[in-house]
């Protein structure tokens, strides 16, 4: 899995490219936390357009980052969610805590 970052004011946009499972979860978690803290971001947007696979380990990674961001008063959103990722997100009740938007611009406007 590869991460691509874009910083728009105090919002970090992260593009998750590839497969997010237990095997890569720890590395991704570390990298995300380092980048969030280094840039002092308040909000976090995950762009999932290139997410090829995700299981419940990926849900754990997203919830973990949500916990930190909500503690500092920020918001988390996901954009460009594919049907298969949407299925597992809905099942885990993710949309009760994070916003889902069509694209990055919509998500940025909602913050």
């Amino acid at each position: 899995m590869q991460l691509e970052y874009q910083l728009v004011q105090n919002t970090l946009i992260v593009k998750l490219k590839g497969e997010l499972d237990h095997h890569v979860a720890e590395k991704i978690r570390q990298e995300l936390d380092d980048t969030i803290k280094k840039n002092r971001c308040k909000n976090l947007i995950f762009n999932l357009s290139d997410m090829r696979f995700m299981d419940s380990s990926g849900i754990g990674v997203i919830i973990g980052r949500y916990k930190y961001i909500s503690q500092i008063g920020g918001k988390v959103a996901v954009v460009e969610v594919s049907e298969k990722v949407d299925k597992i997100f809905s099942l885990a009740g993710m949309y009760r805590i994070i916003g889902k938007h069509q694209n990055q611009l919509d998500a940025l406007n909602s913050l």
Binding site: E19, D21, H22, H23, A25, R29, F53, M54, D55, S56, S57, I59, G60, V61, I63, G64, E83, K84, K87, I88, L91, A92
Partner: protein, 145 residues
């Protein structure tokens, strides 16, 4: 006549093998002419079961995980087995959001995913001797011909 096929795969309980296992099962299931959604369902369910064996069954220690698949007509049966710790309370382990390892940021959704994405899930486990998960999925695509 009834169509049958079988395969068995055995590998070390290393997290690298999570992707390996789900890709192999998906490739084996291809002969059932599944939809893209059905393939994604199978891959996710297999990933959950194998991850459980590695994290909970063996606690990160080295062991062996077996994945066995049976095709009987339009039904795929997947059996994922380890000789690890076993599950003390299966009912509790299957509750949504329950995790015995919250410190690892586990979501506790593994069994819920398996039960939602597959038609049947059976868990047989004994503390100290291991866990066996049997999942079944029926495919409709072949019936349409």
């Amino acid at each position: 006549m009834e169509y049958k096929n079988h395969m068995k795969l055995q590998f070390d309980s290393k997290s690298q093998n999570e992707a390996f296992a789900r890709v192999v099962v998906a490739a084996f299931a291809a002969q059932l002419d599944p939809t893209i959604e059905e393939i994604a369902d199978i891959k996710t369910a297999v990933s959950e079961a194998v991850t459980n064996s590695i994290i909970h069954g063996y606690d990160g220690n080295l062991g062996s995980v077996t994945v066995e698949c049976n095709i009987i007509d339009n039904t795929l049966e997947i059996i994922i087995e380890d000789d690890g710790n076993g599950i003390e309370d299966i009912k509790q382990a299957m509750e949504p959001l329950f995790t015995s390892k919250p410190e690892l940021e586990r979501s506790g959704m593994g069994f819920t995913v398996m039960e939602t994405f597959m038609d049947e899930v059976d868990v047989i486990s004994e503390v100290g001797s291991g866990t066996k998960i049997k999942m079944v999925k029926k495919f409709n695509s072949l019936n349409e011909e």
